[in-house]
């Protein structure tokens, strides 16, 4: 049997369904941690081409229920071992929804737009490494994709993504400059809607 190696430190889940607009991946609820944060940048290889990776933003994390979980919720208190059983043994599925915002080609070139193809189901979804996050977020061309997406909380998502990227920059001055550049780009995108702009700027204020 052949197994495909994945970097478990970066592993977010595996693709359940996908389109060029975005994809949903799944994992077990007991594995949820900082890799599944709202606004995190993740990537997955596109269909039939491991050299191109779609880059996306995590915009929703859903923990699925079932009849037994629903019943346990009704109890006054849940036995601690039952809680552990539900979380560690029952493998309640977790779904992570991602909106596509760009892709990375084999040579390292970045595209800040929709990818040519979606990832295939069961492809490994991994957290983007620090250098990729920083370099991808230097350009703001993808902001309209997020701000205009109907199915995602675009303003909060973009704010979270910018904050997430800023945490990858160690130098304080560089981080400040990055946030200011992002703020200016947002001002250009949302100049027609000052209330929204004020909200997003408040989210990324240093």
């Amino acid at each position: 049997m052949t197994t495909i190696a994945t970097n478990t430190d970066y592993m977010v889940g595996r693709v359940l369904r996908a389109s060029t607009r975005g994809f949903t991946c799944g994992t077990q609820s007991n594995r949820v941690d900082a890799r599944h944060d709202f606004g995190a940048l993740v990537m997955a290889p596109i269909a039939n081409d491991e050299s191109v990776h779609v880059i996306g933003l995590t915009y929703a994390v859903e923990i699925k229920d079932d009849a037994l979980v629903s019943e346990l919720v009704m109890a006054d208190q849940v036995d601690s071992n039952v809680l552990r059983d539900q979380r560690e043994n029952r493998m309640v599925p977790l779904e992570i929804s991602v909106i596509s915002v760009g892709c990375r080609y084999a040579g390292g070139e970045l595209l800040h737009s929709l990818p040519p193809r979606p990832p295939m189901s069961l492809s490994a979804v991994e957290l983007c490494p620090r250098d990729l996050i920083v370099s991808f977020m230097q350009r703001q061309d993808f902001y309209p994709l997020v701000l205009n997406a109907a199915e995602v909380p675009g303003d909060d998502l973009l704010g979270a993504a910018i904050r997430y990227a800023s945490w990858q920059i160690e130098d304080e001055r560089t981080r400040y400059d990055f946030l200011v550049r992002c703020g200016r780009a947002l001002a250009r995108q949302l100049s027609h809607d000052l209330k929204r702009l004020e909200h997003v700027l408040a989210l990324i204020r240093p």
Partner: protein, 409 residues
């Protein structure tokens, strides 16, 4: 074509009109009679004498409850509060599921899957889950001596035996490290009988008793949990037996309980027991239980009724237990307390959590069956064998019942 509900609605309405009759509007008065007899139940000496009479050669057909042997017996109308929980205990719950063999498949096979859930009471430790699937495909397993595919009763009997064997094996592994009582919960009655048309029924029976022996040797407090035992009428039959004169015992049909007919023990004990309480320990007077006893006194099966409660809902359950447990009041107390506690653990549903999980682990869904069929088909193709077995009838059903596609203009 789905069921045409427009043609059923009128019939449902008529059913509603008859509901009072169908639900037995006279059950209340019958229950009062049963309760009165229960309250006035005679002492154990009288009951033992009556049971002796019912067991005498001149009487036949008594299949009701009987007190345990003197020394272990309890007054018929005893009601025992839920005892305190032991500090530590380990529960193993076992359940099984199966895929029956089909003569329509390319390779005849059946599958038995046993699920076990291990709960550590009194210690902060994640429960453990175990599944043991076993695929049977050898002709010696799948076909009978005449070459016919084995019947479903054979698979059911094999499942029961495997459940008990797996429970015994797991108990043997856990026994040395267990602190406090080791409890085995089984989701059915313990008085298994294997019909003679089951292949190797004698052998299966031997394996079942070997598993029981293993459980006894591991010191397992074995409990067979029968939820909502609506067909169980053993105590009502005893109440009826006690109400008869000696001549009537000799001459009447003891299976017919006259004014108590159509009631069941669950209804009786639902009116008697408070949440957490159990009834007296008794044993079923039957040839089957006698056969168990003949294999050793420890193997006679006793029972008690218990009112399990989630705090929201109550239910009556019957707990079967072998005499190696029933003869020791501390063991019975532990089993009683842990079952009552388990039934409080899944929200409103008053059912042992460990059994719910064992069932979940064991169940083989129709989707699982389809996937297994696919796996087998792939394997057959790898061997150069065409796995398709053409059945026009099955194919027609599949086509007609398949997903519908909506065509829109």
């Amino acid at each position: 074509m789905a069921l045409e509900f427009s043609k059923v609605i009128d019939q449902v309405s008529k059913l509603g009109g008859m509901a009072h009759i169908l639900l037995d509007q006279y059950a209340g008065s019958r229950l009062e009679i049963a309760l009165e007899r229960f309250r006035r139940a005679p002492d154990l000496r009288v009951i033992h004498e009556r049971i002796e009479l019912a067991r005498s050669p001149e009487v036949s057909g008594y299949r009701g409850a009987a007190p345990l042997d003197p020394g272990h017996d309890e007054p018929l109308n005893l009601v025992r509060d839920c005892p305190p929980l032991p500090d530590r205990a380990t529960l193993i719950a076992a359940d099984g599921s199966q895929i029956y063999p089909s003569d329509q498949s390319a390779i005849h096979y059946f599958l038995i899957n046993v699920g076990m859930f291990i709960y550590h009471h009194g210690v902060d430790r994640a429960p453990e889950t175990v599944t043991v699937p076993r695929l049977y495909y050898h002709r010696d397993h799948v076909h009978d001596k005449a070459g016919r595919i084995v019947n479903n009763r054979t698979v059911d009997a094999m499942r029961t035996v495997r459940e008990m064997e797996q429970l015994a094996d797991r108990a043997q592994l856990l026994a040395p490290e267990t602190v406090g009582p080791l409890v085995g919960l089984y989701d059915n009655h313990l008085l298994m009988s294997i019909p003679p048309d089951v292949r190797d029924h004698k052998k299966l029976e031997r394996r079942y008793f070997d598993a029981l022996r293993g459980l006894r040797e591991s010191g397992v407090l074995l409990g067979g949990y029968v939820d909502n035992p609506t067909r169980s009428r053993m105590v009502l039959r005893l109440l009826h037996l006690l109400h008869l004169t000696e001549d009537e015992v000799r001459t009447s049909d003891l299976g017919y309980t006259r004014e108590l007919e159509s009631l069941n023990d669950a209804q009786l004990f639902n009116a008697i027991l408070e949440p957490g309480q159990r009834s007296a320990l008794m044993a079923q007077n039957s040839p089957r239980n006698l056969a168990y006893r003949k294999r050793g006194k420890d193997f006679e099966i006793a029972f008690f009724y218990v009112k399990a409660s989630s705090g929201y809902q109550d239910t009556i359950a019957r707990v079967d237990l072998p005499m190696w447990v029933a003869a020791d009041k501390t063991r019975v107390d532990h089993l009683h307390a842990l079952i009552v506690h388990q039934a409080t653990m899944q929200g409103r549903n008053p059912y042992p959590y460990a059994l719910t999980r064992a069932d979940e682990l064991a169940v083989v869904s129709s989707r699982d069956k389809s996937r297994l069929d696919e796996l087998i088909a792939v394997e057959l193709r790898r061997q150069g064998i065409d796995p398709r077995v053409f059945s026009a009838k099955l194919q027609g059903k599949r086509l007609a019942r398949g997903d519908k596609r909506v065509h829109e203009l």
